[in-house]
Each structure stands twice: as C-alpha cells, then as structure tokens.
C-alpha cells in the first residue's frame, strides 16, 4: 500500500486556485439556476391557478417531465438538443458566451422549478380560503389577493421545503461537469488527474460541498424561526 495522505499537495498554487474557481462557478451556477427556479416556479403556480384546463395540463406535464426524467438527460437535452434547433447566429452567440454554463443553469433551474411549483402549491393550499375571500372583500382582484395576501403567507410556509430544494439544486450542479462546466467537481477531477492525489482531491471537494450545504441548512433554520408568525 504505502499511500501517503498529503492534503497539502492539492491545496497549493494553481490547484488551490482551481478549487476556488470551481467553487465560485458552482455558487454562481446555483445562484443563477435558483433565481430561474423561483421565477419559473411562481409563474407555473400562478398559471396552474387560472381556471382554464389546458393550462393546468401543461403545468402538470411540465412537472412530470422534470420530476421523472433523469436530470443528466435534461442537461443533455439543453446542451446538445436545444441549440441544434436554434438558428446559426444564436448558436454562435451561445458558443461565444460560455454556452455550457448558461444551458446548464437553464436545465437545472427549470427542473428545480417543477419542485418549487409543487412546494408553493402546497403552501397556497394550506392558506384558508377565507384569507382570499377577505382580500377580495376589501376590493382586491384575483392578482392583488394572491400577490398581497395569499402568496406572502404561502411562501412563508413554503420556505423550509424551498431551502431543501436549494440544497438539492446546489448538489445537482455537479452534474454540469458532464457538459464541461468548470464547476467544483469538474475542477476536482482536473486536480486529481494532474496530481494523482485522488483521495485528497475529493476530500477537499467533499469538505467544500459540506461547508456550503451546512450554510444553506443554517440559513433554513434561521429563516424558519424568523418567519414564524407568533400567536397567543
């Protein structure tokens, strides 16, 4: 055997830089995908509430596709499939502007949106209908009642599951390495193949993933306490 564990060898010079660049890319990918997931999740939730059945079917199809097709396949569809449908100038633009990052963010964000939409929907369902009725009685229309009264309460209730989704989204960004996004897992592989320090390289990656995950969880419990509405 004679394997000498030497964590210092991968935490110096350019290898340390690679880890940090990878971590920054992972965080950026998480942030962009998260914003997209939230926006799309809220849009899907609102669309589903419009009393026109085909729209409801569309959202159901959207949710089922994203929940039942492996995420890696969804990423491939966006990276290999979608650009081939676009006109040539659009393809060139994508290639010139870190297309892999953008398309990975879209794939991850849209997939997470399906879960976000489900979480927000359960949040909305838990708000008594009387709240909506009460807002309408003051003179708010459908959008006002939803926007100012129902959604703010529903989102509060949805925060713990949404933090959970954020955690999953953060971890899922590692799949983006498959299309060459230079995020943390991709950079770790690079460090490993340059140094042959396999265990050390992945130990560093593990520690970094854990640290961020714990950070997200801490944020979750802190916000959970802050958002709880006091009652007598």
């Amino acid at each position: 055997m004679g394997y000498v564990f030497d964590i210092g060898s991968v935490l110096t010079g350019k290898y340390l830089d690679w880890f940090l660049i990878g971590l920054a890319t992972t965080l950026a990918l998480t942030a962009v995908a998260w914003c997209l997931a939230m926006a799309m999740g809220i849009i899907l939730t609102l669309v589903r509430m419009i009393p026109f059945p085909p729209l409801g079917w569309f959202v159901a199809l959207y949710v089922e596709y994203h929940r039942n097709v492996p995420l890696l396949v969804q990423i491939f569809v966006w990276y290999f499939g979608v650009p081939s449908l676009l006109p040539r100038p659009a393809r060139q633009w994508i290639n010139a502007h870190h297309g892999e990052f953008l398309l990975a963010a879209i794939a991850l964000g849209l997939a997470a949106a399906a879960y976000v939409a489900e979480d927000i929907r359960s949040g909305i369902r838990s708000i008594p209908k009387a709240q909506y009725e009460s807002a309408r009685s003051i003179g708010f229309g459908y959008l006002g009642a939803m926007g100012y009264v129902v959604l703010p309460q529903a989102l509060r209730i949805a925060v713990p599951p949404l933090i959970n989704q954020t955690l999953l989204l953060f971890k899922n960004t590692s799949l983006a390495m498959a299309i060459g996004v230079g995020e943390l897992t991709y950079r770790t592989r690079e460090v490993e193949s340059y140094t042959f320090k396999t265990f050390e390289a992945f130990a560093v990656a593990t520690a970094l993933y854990l640290a961020i995950s714990f950070g997200i969880m801490a944020l979750g419990s802190w916000s959970g306490q802050r958002l709880r509405l006091e009652t007598r």
Binding site: S134, V149, R156, E230, T231, R232
Partner: protein
C-alpha cells in the same frame, strides 16, 4: 341603497334562499336574526357576490350586482364586510392590515395611509396596538381591527356576518360598542347576529329568517308587541332576554 328582489339560491338541490325580497335604505340598520342555517349569512354574502344567486336580483344603488357593467372590485370597496372569523391577514401588523387596501387600491402614500389607518384604529380604541401582529391580539381586538380595516376604505354600507359569534362573552361588548357607535354615526348596516339586545337597541328593522325564507320583519317595538304567539317570539324567548 340595497334591494333584494326575489332572491333564490341553491346549494345543489338544497334551496338556501327562497324568494327573499327587501330593501335597505341609506342610513338604516337592519338586523338579521334566525336559527343557524336559515340563510342569513348567505343572504348578506350575496350583496358583494361572495355567493352567486340562481334567481332574482340584488341591487346596490339600483345597479344589478350580477351585471357585467358592475366592477365588482369597486363595489366591494363601497360595501364593507366583516367576517365571523375576523380574517385578518396574519403576516401584516394591525396597521398593515388597514393600510394594505389604502396604498394598493386607493393609491395613498405610505404616510397618508398610516394617518388614515391610525384614525380608524382610534375609532375602535386600538391605537396602542397598531404595530402588533394579529396573532398576538385577543379575539375582540382582532374583530375591531377588522372593522377598522373595512371602515378605512370609506364604505357606504357595512355588512356584519355574526361578528361576535366567535368571541368570548367579555369581548362581545367591545365589538358591539364599536358597531353601535357606527350606527349612531349614520352608517348603513346589515348585521347578522344572535345579539338580540343589540338588535333591539340599534335596529331600524329586524328581519327574521328561517329555512331560507324571510318570514317576519318589523321594528323592534312592533315585534315586541306582536311577538307573543309568533315564530319570532318563540325564537327570541329561546335565545334569551337581551
């Protein structure tokens, strides 16, 4: 101001309102009494289209509220509605509950809305609770905030749907007092309540409903003199002296 013309409503095969007709003129206070399930709440809910009707018409200021030309959101600003369960918005402070409609619907500035809301809170005696969250208010305080929230929109009519039924007895008084002041100030009101004492004191006319029908009506004095043998008389004796 409000006119019911042969209003019919069914829940499935159950007729909950049967041929209700009646009128509420400006400045009048009508009190609806009757056993549970007699359709009182449903009737006032039809005024702002919280319930749709299957027959007849409901008119507010001579406009059929079911008509397409009526902007229901504007109508609801003119017709305040107070619920049995208060239905305050739990994520907003007492003040925030009141200012929401003022800023978002009336377009008042934050400062102006705050000033207006404080006026209404003062009217119901709750200025010191302005920044309290609803979850920390008592039932009576919540209901007074709910009344202030409605009044802040300057309604021409106030509808009360059993506003004291969910309250502990010692809190009923504070809510009824707020309603009496409102009535004394000339507000047009329809109140669904089991508070017979309040009805006797404030009502211009009491409407007695049973099984979806409006079966008796009259001023408290008229009903008191004629109630001996009537269905209303029997009901009033059962709910106790007021």
């Amino acid at each position: 101001m409000i006119r019911f013309e042969n209003v019919d409503k069914w829940f499935g095969t159950l007729q909950v309102l049967a041929g209700i007709s009646g009128e509420v003129r400006r400045g009048e206070v009508k009190v609806l009494v009757g056993p549970s399930g007699s359709g009182k709440s449903t009737l006032i809910r039809t005024v702002t289209r919280l319930e749709t009707i299957q027959g007849g018409r409901v008119l507010v200021d001579d406009a059929d509220i079911a008509s397409r030309s009526v902007d229901i959101n504007r109508l609801r600003q003119r017709v305040g509605f107070v619920f049995q369960a208060y239905n305050l918005f739990p994520h907003l402070s007492a003040l925030g509950n009141i200012t929401l409609g003022l800023t978002k619907l009336r377009g008042l500035s934050k400062a102006a809305a705050r000033e207006r809301a404080m006026e209404e809170l003062a009217r119901v005696g709750l200025t010191e609770k302005a920044d309290e969250m609803p979850g920390l208010l008592s039932g009576g305080q919540k209901q007074r905030v709910a009344i202030a929230r409605s009044l802040a929109m300057d309604p021409q009519v106030m509808l009360f749907d059993e506003p004291t039924s969910a309250l502990d007895p010692e809190m009923v008084g504070e809510v009824l007092a707020a309603m009496k002041r409102l009535a004394a100030g000339g507000m047009t009101m329809i109140c669904v309540t089991h508070e017979i004492g309040f009805a006797r004191e404030v009502a211009d006319e009491i409407w007695f409903m049973e099984a979806g029908r409006l079966i008796e009506r009259g001023s408290p004095a008229e009903l008191a003199s004629s109630q001996a043998g009537s269905r209303l008389g029997a009901f009033l004796r059962k709910v106790g002296p007021g």
